[in-house]
Amino acid sequence: MPRPVLILFAHPAYEKSRVHLSLAAAVRDLPAVTFHDLYEEYPDLDIDVRREQELLRAHEVVVFQHPFYWYSVPPILKQWMDLVLEHGWAYGATGRALEGKTLQVAMTAGGRDQAYGPEGFNRLTFREFLAPVEATARLCRMPFAEPWVVAGTHVITPQGVADATASYAALIRRLGEG
């Protein structure tokens, strides 16, 4: 039973990104995948809440694809969470619209893997930094999948991009197969 995948893509300077251009190209036309480019849809951050909720309803897997900015999500994704995940709809006593849908974070980070961890420069792991997203998933009764991260994009080689792209496409396929 295929599970339709909704990729919420958030990149304010997509045209300048090397890694995301490649990642997006590999998944946007996969069957049962809806590639939803938030900055393209809502350049003024004026998110159409009803439309977003309809999209969520129609999919079983939700992917946040974005660069890791200041240890967090880009602002439009936070705006999206603020507005779309309404009380009484996404959480709360009567809010069960998202129950059981998987939330997958797929992000790129400039720093290398070694910088993220107790011994590293940033002290915390990616998963620890993503605690707010994980807590959001929990509140919305959504299983939170282990974050998928391409680290070290400041120094990534073309081969590295190709490898990451193949890995990402495989991840999305796997999610879609359920």
Binding site: D46, G92, A93
Partner: protein, 630 residues
């Protein structure tokens, strides 16, 4: 009294019936009045008869009022700018027309004195008909409009020396020594230098009284808050000036014009204008009808060839002279033609001068009958000539543009073509330029094109309604055409033509308002932008801030409101045509606004942003315990 009421009924009824019909057929009100006059006149229905001439004299006062209103609206700066046209074109026109007509009359075997008198009489054009027509069509501010106005003003001045000249041309025994025009002008019996002094004193009085006495007087009347007293004072002012002018033998129209100019800077300008306006309109209407009624069709029928020849000769000669003057003045071809057509007629002062000349034994009855008919018919022809210009010449002239300027040949081919580079178009072009997108620009304002080119922009002079120009501007390779012409009708016509001829190109169009947006959507344009919406929303949001709203909240509301409004406009575009097609544009706009307001009320624009409203959260979690997002 009964007679007065009866003829008032006839005139008013004729006006009420004829003018809307004439306007409906695009003929303009002046022609409507003239036709109404012909119909009620002795030649057709005979409702009004011999008193037509008297009515005309009374109604001439409409011309006086018109010049007062024009004076009120005139900026002194414009008058100063027109001084060259006034003295140069005006003097040249009067002198050249007089001489040309004199020559023609002498060639037809009249005495030179009669010829000169006739020439001076027909040199004057009809201020009433020309200005009323130009105003109605909105051409007063055009080059031809301003120059016509200047020439008419000069002609009003010229009446004075002509009145002085006519008695000197007498060739026949004078029966009576009365005079029609300056009746009761005691100043006429004074010696020359005293007369000049009195005239200057009268003009100074108008300026002095207008500047110093009128404003405080009107202020105290305004304090009484009696509408009709104010109206009475306004009328008193105009009539008083006219009487004073007649006493010293000057043109009353000129005097009231001067009075208007003096009061143009006072705070009562608009008040005066709105008080005089209805009288002016009515009297002018009656005047035009009287002109129509005074055309003696019996005479015309009897001497058909002669009268028609005289009319044609009058119009052709005046046109030729005006054409030559316009040429020397270097007017653009279409304006040049309008100028020459507009003034090619005899005028209301002509009637006055004809009777004056008759009384002074200058002209014999054989000449005057034909002359009066010719002047009246030439006046009646003017609205038709202007209509001809509007329908035939103007569109062609726009297509061909001015002869001294060939259409540019845009050699570059960009993927964006902007038509119309005024405020709106240039803002769009600058934004695209900032993004590094080069655009080809077409504009019809030659001066603007020159300035922009000097600044290194690729702007081309040309009329985008011509397909070959669009082709040479590269529309076939363009992806986008941006229509930013200020005239909504022109913009729409361009959109329709381009959508039809070049279906591959995406049209982005500026819309004047909601109705114009509907029409553009209907023409198949997908990207329609109402020009005032964004500014209005920003203004509204800022106003809300001053009223105590948080900046972001008011901005969000404006954002949401605008999106809903845009969506509504798109949706209503289809409905509009079906339901409101029968209404006039203004009526349809009101009906549309009504519907918008109803919809606004049923869907409050601020319903969104529920997620930032913690009300429901407080209700659910207020008792404590349970999960909450923090």
């Amino acid at each position: 009294m009964q007679g007065f009421l009866l003829s008032a009924t006839v005139y008013l009824a004729a006006a009420v019936i004829a003018v809307p019909i004439a306007k409906r057929f695009g003929l303009g009100s002046v022609l409507g009045y003239l036709l109404a006059g012909v119909v009620i006149g002795p030649s057709v229905l005979g409702f009004v008869g011999a008193e037509g001439q008297d009515v005309m004299h009374a109604a001439e006062f409409g011309v006086v009022m018109m010049l007062f209103v024009i004076g009120l609206e005139l900026e002194p700066a414009l008058l100063w700018r027109l001084r060259g046209a006034l003295l140069g074109l005006g003097a040249a026109q009067v002198a050249a027309t007089t001489l040309a007509v004199t020559g023609a009359m002498v060639a037809f075997g009249l005495r030179w004195q009669e010829g000169l008198a006739t020439g001076a009489i027909v040199a004057l054009s009809s201020t009433a008909i020309v200005l009323q027509s130009l105003q109605e069509k909105g051409w007063m501010k055009s080059d031809a409009g301003e120059k016509s106005f200047a020439v008419l003003l000069f002609q009003d001045l010229a009446v004075i020396p002509i009145l002085a000249l006519l008695p000197l041309l007498a060739t026949q025994a004078v029966a009576t020594t009365g005079d029609a025009h300056g009746a009761g002008a005691w100043a006429e019996h004074l010696p020359g230098w005293q007369r000049a002094g009195v005239t200057i004193a009268a003009v100074a009085a108008i300026i002095g009284v207008g500047r110093l006495l009128v404003p405080p007087a009107f202020r105290s009347i305004a304090k009484a808050r009696l509408r009709e007293t104010f109206t009475a004072a306004a009328l008193l002012l105009v009539i008083g000036i006219a009487v004073l002018m007649q006493l010293v033998g000057l043109s009353p129209a000129l005097g009231t014009f001067l009075g208007g100019v003096v009061l143009a800077t006072s705070e009562f300008r608009h008040e005066l204008e709105s008080d005089i306006e209805p009288f002016k309109g009515l009297l002018l209407g009656v005047f035009f009808m009287a002109v129509g009624a005074s055309i003696d069709f019996a005479l015309v029928g009897e001497r058909l060839g002669l009268v028609l020849g005289a009319v044609a000769g009058l119009i052709v000669l005046k046109f030729a002279v005006l054409w030559g003057i316009g040429r020397v003045a270097g007017m653009a071809r279409d304006q040049h033609l309008l100028f020459a057509l507009a003034l090619a007629q005899g005028g209301e002062f002509g009637f006055v001068l004809v009777s004056f000349a008759t009384q002074n034994g200058v002209l014999g009855a054989s000449v005057t009958g034909v002359l009066v008919a010719a002047i009246a018919l030439s006046m009646a022809m003017t609205p038709l000539l202007l209509l001809f210009w509007e329908r035939v010449i103007a569109p062609r002239a726009q297509a061909a543009a001015s002869p001294e300027r060939e259409m540019d040949r845009p050699e570059s081919e960009h993927s964006v073509l902007i038509v119309g580079f005024g405020d709106f178009g240039s803002s769009v072009g600058r934004l695209l330029g900032a993004a590094g997108v080069e655009c080809t620009v077409l504009d019809l304002d030659a001066d603007r094109v020159d300035v922009l080119r000097r600044m290194g922009l690729r702007v081309y002079f040309g009329d985008a309604s011509r397909e070959e120009l669009l082709r040479s501007a590269g529309i076939e390779k363009a992806r986008i055409v941006i229509l930013c012409v200020g005239d909504a009708a022109v913009n729409l016509a361009l959109a329709q033509r381009i959508a039809h001829a070049f279906p591959h190109v995406r049209i982005f169009a500026r819309a004047a308002g909601r109705l114009s947006a509907y029409e553009l959507y209907e023409a198949g344009v997908e990207h329609v932008f109402r020009e005032s919406v964004d500014a209005a929303m920003r203004l509204g949001a800022d106003a809300l801030r001053v009223l105590g709203w948080r900046a972001h909240a008011s901005w969000r509301l404006a954002q949401t409101f605008r999106k809903r409004d845009d969506a509504n406009t798109k949706r209503l575009a289809g409905i509009f045509r079906d339901s409101e097609a029968h209404l006039s544009e203004a009526r349809a706009a009101i009906r549309d606004l009504e519907r918008q307001l109803r919809e606004d009320r049923s869907v409050p624009a601020s319903q969104d942003d529920a997620a930032w409203d913690a009300e429901s959260l407080r209700r659910e979690f207020g008792a404590g315990g349970g999960p909450r997002p923090e």
